[in-house]
């Protein structure tokens, strides 16, 4: 299991985090990881497994065993490319990708750091409503943008209100 978690340094199982995890699974009616029988079908078809050490079945299994915090700390949490093949193909209707994303949200709500570029686009969305500002695109020697191409402005009517409601939505945690 190298890469997923370091078993020599693994913490004791954390029942309170397990309860929190299952609480969200229950509240949001997510697919239940307990139905997994470890057939490895998800990992054998995992896009990211070709390039990294991520193993979706192992994420599901470690969470079931109570090692939620270890999974939240694993760098491989951020190696999922969300191709959704694991969710589509699981014979037990478990969704490893949903386990991974729930762990990501628990990581964020615990105040841990997340990859810098992801953090940047999240900030942009909360400030402007989009992952980035409108880009200027080069065409030969000239540059174009939405306006030059005759596309409408992305301005959000009553943007202040939008931002304040979004901030409130971000404070409303279910994780």
């Amino acid at each position: 299991m190298s890469g997923i978690t370091d078993q020599l340094r693994a913490t004791k199982p954390q029942p309170e985090l397990v309860d929190k995890f299952y609480g969200v699974v229950e509240k949001l009616k997510l697919e239940n990881p307990f139905h997994c029988f470890q057939c490895f079908k998800c990992t054998s078809g995992c896009t990211s497994f070709r390039l990294t050490e991520i193993m979706p079945h192992a994420f599901v299994n470690f969470v079931r065993l109570g090692f939620v915090e270890d999974m939240m700390r694993s760098e491989l949490l951020w190696a999922c490319c969300q191709c959704l093949k694991c969710k589509e193909r699981c014979p037990q209707e478990v969704a490893p990708v949903d386990v991974i994303f729930l762990l990501r949200r628990m990581t964020v709500s615990s105040g841990s750091e997340i990859p810098e570029d992801l953090s940047k686009i999240i900030m942009n969305v909360t400030e402007t409503g989009f992952i980035q500002g409108t880009q200027t695109v080069k065409v030969g020697d000239t540059s174009v943008d939405r306006e030059k191409l005759g596309l409408s402005s992305l301005e959000i009517p009553n943007a202040e209100k939008f931002r304040s409601v979004l901030m409130k939505a971000m404070e409303e945690q279910m994780e």
Binding site: L51, I122, V125, I131, L154, I156, P157, V165, E175
Partner: protein
């Protein structure tokens, strides 16, 4: 028929050709585009942060289209999947539904259940129809052999909604063939473009994109066709960086289906934003004549 175009961040802020070409072909096909000011991000980045915030963004965009009473056509597969997922989560969780409802009310938005969601494949294949498109073709794209890349997020998971078969998608193939081109069996059709990894594992992301382009190139396709702005940004927009990452020479023309359709309808390449593509689309256009 009236629709709203939901560009999503990538098409709205960078992949301008996607929106340009969609607008041009819809005008040509007699589909009216209703303007909806105020669309934002679908909520995807916030899926990493908290359920309430991302579902709020998705529900808010759906509510904006619903206020105009039109279906919303998604220019990015990710946005399409997220909208369905938001609806499904709200249907399953009264607590979440209540929270979102209160937030929308505070912003003065509604109704909660939002608009109908249309993927471009559903719009062109199911609503307008392959036969109608065949009839409208003025310049058949004879002799072109194109790889059809539908994209992960449009076809999976099938439990959420079925736009096309998740293991053997064929709608884009039929739509390409309706234009007179060929789209023979593409073994890597289900391979991921890497878009999602771009913000967390850049090298892996560009490797996925590069290997996908390389495989299509090695099979001898004249080009690749996309229906998603996020996927297109990887396969066309970042083809050069992907080539550097995998250490191979890549020069596969990659076009949006709407650009290809526009060419077959006789529209000018510039109006379809083909000058904005980063891959060598001139090679493809040279073959069309």
């Amino acid at each position: 028929m009236k629709v709203a175009i939901f560009p999503g961040c990538v098409a709205a802020t960078e992949q301008y050709a996607c929106e340009l070409a969609t607008r041009e072909v819809l005008r040509e096909l007699g589909v009216e585009v209703v303007e909806v000011p105020g669309f934002t991000c679908c909520g995807w980045p916030l899926q990493n942060v908290g359920t309430v915030s991302w579902v709020y963004l998705a529900a808010r965009n759906l509510a904006l289209a619903a206020e105009k009473g039109v279906p919303l056509v998604t220019l990015c597969n990710v946005c399409n999947r997220l909208f369905y997922e938001a609806k499904s989560l709200m249907a399953g969780s009264p607590e979440l539904r209540e929270k979102i409802s209160a937030l929308l009310k505070e912003e003065g938005r509604g109704p909660l259940d939002g608009a109908e969601i249309l993927h471009p494949l559903e719009l062109f294949h199911d609503r307008i129809g392959v036969e109608e498109i065949k009839k409208r073709v003025k310049k058949p794209l004879k002799g072109l052999k194109l790889a059809a890349h539908t994209g992960c997020q449009a076809i999976r998971p099938r439990k959420l909604r079925t736009i096309d078969d998740p293991e053997h998608p064929q709608k884009l193939v039929r739509l390409v063939e309706a234009l007179g081109a060929q789209s023979p069996h593409y073994p890597e059709a289900l391979d991921c473009c890497g878009a999602y990894l771009f913000y967390t594992r850049k090298d892996a992301s560009l490797t996925l994109a590069g290997e996908k382009v390389e495989a299509a190139q090695n099979w001898g396709y004249d080009g690749m066709v996309t229906v998603c702005s996020s996927g297109h940004r990887m396969l066309d927009g970042k083809q050069d960086s992907a080539a550097t990452t995998i250490g191979k020479a890549l020069n596969l023309p990659v076009v949006y289906y709407t650009q290809l359709l526009g060419l077959a309808l006789g529209l000018s390449p510039e109006r379809l934003g083909l000058q904005l593509n980063r891959s060598p689309v001139k090679n493809l256009m040279g073959k069309i004549g």
